[in-house]
């Protein structure tokens, strides 16, 4: 907690928060990281295998095999979300399923399923990007900033 916020707390509140903090079970960070590493690694290995299949049997080059690979991973992720399996896998693997494209697909599919009851326009259509929206906004914005930096470096005679 930022110290600025802590200043506003009364002594009783500070004392209580100390006690509550001591009583709170710690989040198993190390275990979570190991699980994320394993799960994320497995997903990426599957992705690699799919890409290899597209290159070997699908007349794709190494450059353009990425798109169909991502599409297949998205489809798997959406199906697992629909069948209600994904959230259980995610509780175990955490960032392992959230960081790859599977997490992005899950965030959109789960929101679309959840808000189906509010109809296709105000529900599915409007709420689908409830979670994924900020990924898109800040993803596009960061890409824009990175490109600006690259152009600047080039203009100044860099690589």
């Amino acid at each position: 907690m930022p110290s600025q916020k802590k200043k506003k707390l009364t002594t009783a509140q500070q004392q209580y928060q100390k006690l509550a903090k001591a009583k709170e079970p710690k989040r198993p960070f190390l275990l979570n990281m190991i699980r994320a590493f394993i799960a994320g690694g497995i997903i990426c290995t599957i992705g690699q295998a799919i890409q290899w299949l597209f290159i070997t049997y699908g007349k794709f080059s190494e450059e353009n095999a990425g798109n169909p690979t991502v599409a297949v991973l998205i489809m798997i992720s959406v199906l697992l979300t629909g069948f209600g399996i994904f959230d259980h896998l995610a509780q175990w693997s955490g960032a392992g399923t959230a960081v790859p494209i599977t997490g992005f697909a899950n965030s959109m599919a789960s929101a679309a399923i959840e808000h189906r009851s509010e109809g296709f326009v105000l529900g599915v259509g409007a709420k689908m990007f409830k979670l994924a929206g900020s990924v898109i906004v800040y993803g596009v914005f960061s890409a824009f900033v990175i490109v600006l930096i690259k152009i600047l470096i080039k203009a100044l005679g860099g690589i």
Binding site: Q13, Y16, L19, K23, P25, I113, E114, S117
Partner: protein, 333 residues
């Protein structure tokens, strides 16, 4: 009659003429499944949304309570209901079906005992002969409103709690047989500045401690008066904190005398993190399990302290801390 600062003593001893608890499939696998009056296999209750399913659960509990009291809807003068949904739609829509004069309340998960206390007040004052009070919660509906879509893959920390899918209802009357409501302590809102919505037990524990202390102070009682004191849904984390705080303040319990509905309702193997939560947590455990034990003669005097976290999805996004409240109701056989 008001005694002390914030405790009502009901001299007319309102009777809980009947009560009912209903649950969903996850509660059917829980530790108290025998004490539910009906367990539904379908989390959707045959409806097309979680919100409609919750309303169904509430209607089911109300109908069962009215049936068990051998009454008709027309015999109930008032219905006091509350739930977790925005604008308490579950209660209001169930009240539409019931067609009984209705008072909607909101105390988050403390609504169960807030409703019971107010219902007792109506009986005590003579403004009603029979009052129905009920609350409900639904895991899917609560997750959707307060957190993420149910199928979203977020990793929950060990402090998180599992919202109970179910509903509890009770009918209070001036006459009849059954356990009596003898006193109620209305809690004040306590905020210790915690702001993690995935640790609500920790945020609500100080409110529970405040109300329990007020109850004993107002009535000049000690914990030994009760066979059992239960908090609503503090879970493992909050209940541990509350026990520590009360012990520090000189309130000591005998073994197994102080428990939490959120710790009682599920089996150890069920993946509920720190325990159960939701309006239905204290409502189903009290109106199902505890009242049945009282009728069997296993318990004579109990104090139910329902705890509520008064946050909204908007308030925590705006970085507000989580205020808590707790209402205690003493029931004697």
């Amino acid at each position: 009659m008001l005694q002390g600062h914030q405790t009502w003593v009901f001299n007319s001893m309102p009777v809980i003429r009947a009560s009912a608890a209903v649950g969903g499939p996850f509660e059917a696998e829980g530790a108290l499944h025998d004490d539910f009056d009906r367990l539904n296999a379908d989390i959707w209750m045959g409806q097309d949304s979680f919100e409609k399913a919750e309303k169904k659960l509430l209607e089911q509990a109300c109908d069962l309570a009215i049936q068990q009291a051998a009454m008709k809807k027309a015999d109930v003068q008032f219905f006091i209901g509350g739930d977790l949904m925005d604008q308490i739609i579950s209660s209001s829509f169930a009240a539409r079906t019931l067609g009984v004069p209705y008072l909607g309340i909101y105390g988050a998960c403390s609504s169960s005992m807030e409703g019971l206390a107010l219902a007792s007040l109506l009986i005590e004052s003579g403004f009603a002969q029979n009052v129905l009070t009920a609350t409900s919660s639904h895991n899917g509906a609560a997750e959707k409103q307060y957190r993420y879509p149910t199928e979203y893959g977020s990793q929950k920390p060990p402090t998180a709690q599992w919202t109970v899918t179910g509903a509890g209802a009770a009918i209070l009357g001036r006459e009849g047989t059954g356990p009596h409501v003898v006193a109620a302590t209305i809690g004040k809102v306590v905020d210790m500045g915690l702001s993690d919505p995935l640790n609500m037990g920790g945020a609500m524990a100080p409110a529970a401690v405040d109300t329990i202390e007020a109850h004993f102070r107002d009535l000049q009682r000690s914990p030994s008066y009760y066979d059992l004191i239960v908090t609503g849904d503090l879970g493992r984390v909050g209940h541990g904190i509350a026990t520590d705080l009360l012990t520090q303040h000189g309130i000591k319990f005998s073994a197994n005398q102080f428990n939490d509905c959120g710790l009682m309702i599920y089996q150890k193997e069920q993946p509920v993190f720190a325990g159960g939560s939701g309006c239905a947590c204290s409502a189903t455990v009290t109106y199902g399990h505890l009242l049945k034990r009282m009728k069997k003669g296993e318990l004579h005097r109990i104090l139910v302290v329902a705890t509520g976290a008064l946050l909204s999805p908007l308030s925590y996004q705006q970085k507000e801390s989580i205020p808590g409240v707790a209402h205690a109701v003493a029931i004697e056989m």
